[in-house]
Symmetry: C2
Subunit: 368 residues, 2 copies
């Protein structure tokens, strides 16, 4: 618990310490902050609340959105574990873009998970995770046709990964990634193919595309744009939006599938989620009295972050922010509300997840 | 032209200078000479004449042949040009093994050709060569079901290449190949998949397999055997037979698609072939008189080599050898016979080639 101290107050319900660090990097990477005007136009809380914080070349996508024209949305997950709230946010963002006429290419990156994770020993294991990942994605609202699995594509896609491989030198790859294993290297070519293949004539043809990524994945995006220029195809250079990931439930940690205590999993029971919320790091005062007197710090609070990333009603989230700041909402009550909100979501999600398991198996293993 | 000199005579119609050099390398590489007993059992001139000169682990294949059981034959071509007599020999060998119950996996390695050849700039170009290569392979006697194209396989095959990639370190790859480009590296994983994938449950399942290779490709075979041991599948370690390639038509050169003067192409006209035969380096004496007096040296003669590699009647080839040695057959007459033999073959081949072009296009580009 952190008491109110002498630091200047930041009165921005969508700000956080992490975001301030991020902003310093934008100009270095050639990115632009997401303009307020666009946030209003896009009418979705993930933009509005600064979770999608910056972009490269999103202008072209805005134009398509304004003209009600299609554009490509490519992203995916290479999870070697259960999906958590952080993954939900990515799917929510994809769904928001889908409503704006995005054509969705949501990749279950089982080959990537296999080649890059030591703990996954065989593709069979990677596919077990893929089934769970796909069932979660369906339960969150994606459709079967929005999803593809790396190990179950058309030959054209793999051929394209080799076309890409020829365009790189080892010097370039080392400059981007440092030391790589051969397996990771091969998986990178497939990931470049993931981002670009939708623009091949066999798929959508030339079309603006956008990929939501975390800021630390930007070298990858720059590499994709470089290779798009070198290939003998007429491609739009892929645009990207940079998302600030929800942090872990403990102080200074990421939300990670491999650390169950940092994450609320989409398949957690309401009771598990409640326990995690009550154990989470908050911005509350040391005692109820101190909290009431000095107010809380929602900008560092993991419980507030759950509301900020997942609670659709923006007015309500702002209220929580204000009430916490003023010390009028105490942590116990706030956690209770959060646990109740999650319990409702998780119960519904669990049902949809189970309903979609068979469909997920067909996506990963093909029709029986 | 080389006159008869003081070197000791090698009275072996199936020997050559190159083969003597090869034999030194066998023990170093852990290979075995092809036993005389097997040559007699296999009843094909390519074995009999020592063109298939050595092997690793072919014992298992001999056992399958004796028991009239199936085995896998995997080889292929990654040509970035027209096919020549050297390629014909490989197809002849595959056809010989097919008659002995071999299940043929003949790969048109268009992705390999694209990634490893500077002159091929796009997959489109690689596929143009692939169509010509496939039409030639069909004209030589392979069937559509014996042939596959790297860029048109099932997802399972590409997935398998990534499974293989994970099993290597860069240190291992550098030890085998020296410096590699990322494209060549990626193509290597696909080539390992070529050799091993037929043993996956989705194809033939565990089954002895044999790949004919040139001696200098042996590091590749050892790498494949190493990775076969590391993968979580029950595979027979792939066997190999080592072939001595037909040399180029000029002294000290390989037969190469990129040097038209060294090769007789399967699509050469009889007239072109005749010219090339008449210009070829021979083992004849400096003058007809010297030839008659000292005899010729078929073991260094490129015209004799054409007979040795392609003329089915062994008795006739032996006769040519003897008559040349004794100086009774002069180069002019021998070249004429050779040109006539080739003319007949090339004329028939050209017709079959043209007849098979559409089928070849379907193999490379799919059904229209």
């Amino acid at each position: 618990m952190v008491c109110g101290d002498e630091k200047p107050m930041v009165l921005d319900p969508w700000g956080s310490e992490e975001i301030k660090d991020y902003k310093k990097l934008f100009s270095e990477f050639g990115l632009k902050e997401f303009p307020e005007k666009w946030k209003r136009e896009l009418r979705h809380y993930l933009f509005e609340r600064g979770i999608a914080i910056a972009h490269r070349d999103f202008d072209k996508i805005m134009e398509r959105i304004r003209n009600k024209e299609e554009f490509i949305v490519m992203t995916g997950i290479a999870s070697s574990g259960r999906l958590h709230l952080g993954h939900k946010m990515v799917v929510d963002l994809v769904l928001a873009l889908k409503k704006l006429n995005g054509k969705i290419f949501f990749c279950i990156a089982d080959i990537d998970a296999y080649t890059t994770r030591e703990k996954i020993r065989t593709m069979k294991e990677a596919k077990e995770f893929a089934v769970e990942n796909a069932a979660n994605a369906l339960a969150l609202g994606l459709r079967k046709k929005d999803i593809y699995v790396q190990s179950r594509k058309e030959a054209r896609y793999y051929e394209f990964a080799f076309e890409i491989a020829k365009k790189f030198t080892f010097a370039e790859l080392k400059a981007i990634y440092g030391e790589l294993s051969p397996g990771k290297l091969a998986a990178n070519f497939l990931q470049y193919a993931d981002i670009l293949h939708a623009q091949l004539p066999e798929y959508c043809g030339k079309m603006p595309s956008v990929t939501p990524v975390a800021l630390e994945q930007d070298p990858h995006m720059r590499a994709v744009r470089d290779v798009a220029r070198k290939l003998a195809y007429d491609f739009c250079l892929p645009s990207s939006i940079y998302i600030v990931h929800q942090s872990g439930l403990r102080e200074g940690e990421k939300m990670s599938s491999s650390k169950p205590e940092t994450a609320i999993f989409l398949t957690d029971s309401p009771e598990e989620a409640r326990k995690k919320v009550f154990r989470a790091f908050t911005g509350g005062g040391g005692t109820v009295e101190e909290h009431r007197r000095f107010g809380g710090k929602p900008e560092i609070c993991k419980v507030y972050e759950i509301f900020k990333y997942h609670y659709p009603n923006t007015k309500f989230v702002k209220e929580i922010y204000e009430l916490c700041r003023k010390g009028e909402l105490i942590c116990g009550d706030c956690k209770k509300m959060c646990a109740e909100f999650l319990a409702k979501f998780l119960e519904k999600h669990r049902k949809k997840f189970e309903k979609n398991l068979k469909k997920a198996e067909r996506i990963v293993h093909g029709e029986a």
